[in-house]
Amino acid sequence: MRYFLQKLSQFAIVFFIVTFVVMILMRLGLNAPGDPARTLLGGTADQGLIDATTQKYRLDSNYFTQYFFWLKGMVTGDMGFSVPNSLPVSELIRGRVMTTLLLGSYAIVLGLIIAVPFAVRQAYKRDSAFDKVGSGLSFAFVSAPAIVLAPILTLILIKENTITLWWPLNDYQVTIGGWFPRIGEKVYPWQDLGAHFKNFFVPTLVLTLPIAAIFSRLLRGDMVMTLQADFVTLASAKGVSPRRVLWVHALRNSLFSLLTSVGLQIGGIVGGAIVAETFFDLDGMGTMLVTAILSKDLFTVQSAAAILVACVVVVNLTVDLLYAVLDPRIRHIRALA
């Protein structure tokens, strides 16, 4: 418990510092009074409106007061107003968050579904042809950033390619691709499940393949180490079935790096989503943030960044707690501390 509180306070400090620094960064160079409001409202806004906005959000006071008022607004649900979108920021985020949430969770879950069985089998059949091909593939995908994968997958899956075969099937033509729409439309699963998956499949793939590769590399490495441990030999020796040894005894003790990495990837998924959403014109949090930063939409950036940091903090805490669930030894050490 004490350990948990200590971690919580540490993460709270991180949250406040990051949100504060983001606020200062967004206001860099806007030093004259009224400048932030003018940026916020656009060049043509009249003086009365500028003064009113400055008053409302205390934009003429020092950074700490501004931060305090913004934070107070956040807590009470008022995230400010986004002028380029002429919407309250909370409305704007509500409209966008689902896309990224779905995209991100598909990517992580699909990544785990692909990575875990592959990695376990690779570790079990170490140095076999399967292991080598798997390692090579995962190495290649680790090195394939989203801006590389997105065009390649577009070429293979979205564009219609007519391929003319040569000998022995002289001039026989096959058409592959053209299975998915070029531009992702925001169709939610409760509206039309089929169309939803069609629209989200390629962007998800762009995010998930590198993630799956990272996961499987980590898990394979750890599994190889675990399978050499004495307790695995003992379990086999006392007659536990190989399948159970592999999937229960060994897997459970190999999950630590994977867990850390899952946490990191959840925290960083918006980074990948920025590229994927831009490429496939899906309007989610990623595209919203980029537009907001470029158009100096102060409150949107601040509030969205605060939400992201809060998510990262919560994920980190959860990962920390899961460590203790997985390994009784950690629970014990922490209880003593």
């Binding site: 540490q10 993460f11 400090i13 991180v14 949250f15 510092i17 990051v18 620094v21 983001v22 960064l25 967004m26 860099l28 160079g29 170490r126 140095d127 190495f139 290649a140 680790v142 090195s143 394939a144 950033p145 989203a146 801006i147 590389v148 065009p151 390649i152 577009t154 070429l155 564009k159 980590l218 490495g221 790096s257 850390t260 990495s261 990191l264 925290g267 960083g268 998924i269 918006v270 980074g271 990948g272 920025i274 590229v275 831009t278 490429f279 943030l289 980029v290 930063i293 470029l294 950036v301 960044a305 992201l308 940091v309 990262v312 903090v313």
Partner: protein, 320 residues
């Protein structure tokens, strides 16, 4: 410990000595396997670097702003596919994609290397100091790195580059900070956090070793212990992380350019090429695919070298 890594010694396959007992088949095979991937990575990177920095003097690389005339003698959009006239085809402004890709490599490599050097100097220093002094210094450094890692890296990079650009326009003494150096600075800051963490972790274990104790007991000051005793032992770790980090930073530079936050207008980069030509992927796949391929091969090569180094020095870098 040897810290100089020449490709020749690193690439030489180690002799498979008959060990006592029976060596497992897997072990034997691993000693014999020639390092194809590593050799490819070194050759590719050396060639690419040479071509990129000597591009002005090489006769077979046109200037990036040269117009390649189409078959009818006039410049046009996407006139050539991959051919002898234009090796990687031509793009929407009838520029040569091969030349733009090579000049793009110059930008990417420069940005990546400078940002990594920045990350090594700042992150390494922070890490060594935090690991050596521990206590509140360590706390402060860890909070800084936590803060840097709390926001998605690409998002932080977009904010920093965008704001630095505005800030420079308002501030006289920052005139030298062109777009390229803004990106270098931004990516360098991002590279600082993971490097600081790894160096700190290594320093924490190194400072308990006997040679550090010996140095301290004959009266060496902290600065000397850190620089002369601990730092040389950190070089393998830093080198390994630097290569892996370089691949991540080059990918990040590509992503920034793709989002419109690349270097100055007129300088070709891979990300910009991909962004400009992606809507024409149906008619002219070459203009998008070749920059993609180059970016992929570069990232892959740095990863391959990083992987080889980490095996050689037995370094685990799960956290990166």
């Amino acid at each position: 410990m040897t810290t100089t890594i020449s490709p020749a010694t690193a690439a030489a396959p180690e002799p498979a000595l008959p060990e006592a007992g029976t060596p497992t088949p897997s072990k034997r095979r691993r000693f014999k396997r020639p390092p194809i991937g590593y050799a490819f990575a070194v050759v590719f990177l050396v060639t690419l670097t040479l071509m990129a920095f000597l591009a002005d003097y090489l006769p077979f690389i046109p200037y990036p702003d040269a117009k390649i005339l189409g078959p009818d003698g006039r410049p046009g959009r996407y006139e050539w596919g991959p051919s002898w006239t234009a090796w990687f085809g031509t793009d929407g402004v009838s520029g040569d994609v091969f030349s733009k890709t090579i000049y793009g490599a110059r930008t990417s490599l420069q940005v990546g290397v400078f940002a990594t050097v920045f990350g090594i100097v700042v992150g390494g220093a922070l890490g060594v100091i935090a690991g050596y002094f521990r206590g509140w210094v360590d706390r402060v450094v860890m909070i800084i790195t936590d803060c840097l890692l709390a926001l998605p890296a690409l998002l932080l990079a977009i904010i920093l580059v965008n704001r630095l650009d505005d800030y420079r326009n308002d501030t006289e003494w920052l005139g030298w900070l062109s777009r390229k150096w803004q990106i270098v600075l931004t990516l360098g800051i991002l590279a600082t956090a993971p490097l600081a963490r790894i160096v700190r972790a290594q320093t924490l274990s190194l400072r308990e070793r006997e040679f550090v104790l010996a140095a301290r007991s004959i009266g060496a000051k902290p600065g000397r212990v850190m620089f002369r005793e601990i730092l040389p032992n950190l070089i393998p770790v830093i080198l390994t992380v630097a290569f892996t980090g370089l691949s991540i930073l080059i990918a990040a530079e590509g992503a920034l350019a793709f989002l419109g936050l690349g270097v100055e207008v007129g300088t070709p980069t891979w990300g910009k090429l991909i962004d400009e030509n992606r809507n024409k992927i149906d008619e002219a796949w070459w203009a998008t695919m070749f920059p993609c391929l180059m970016l992929f091969l570069t990232v892959l090569s740095f990863n391959l070298i990083g992987d080889r180094l980490s095996r050689r020095f037995d370094i685990r870098q799960a956290g990166v």
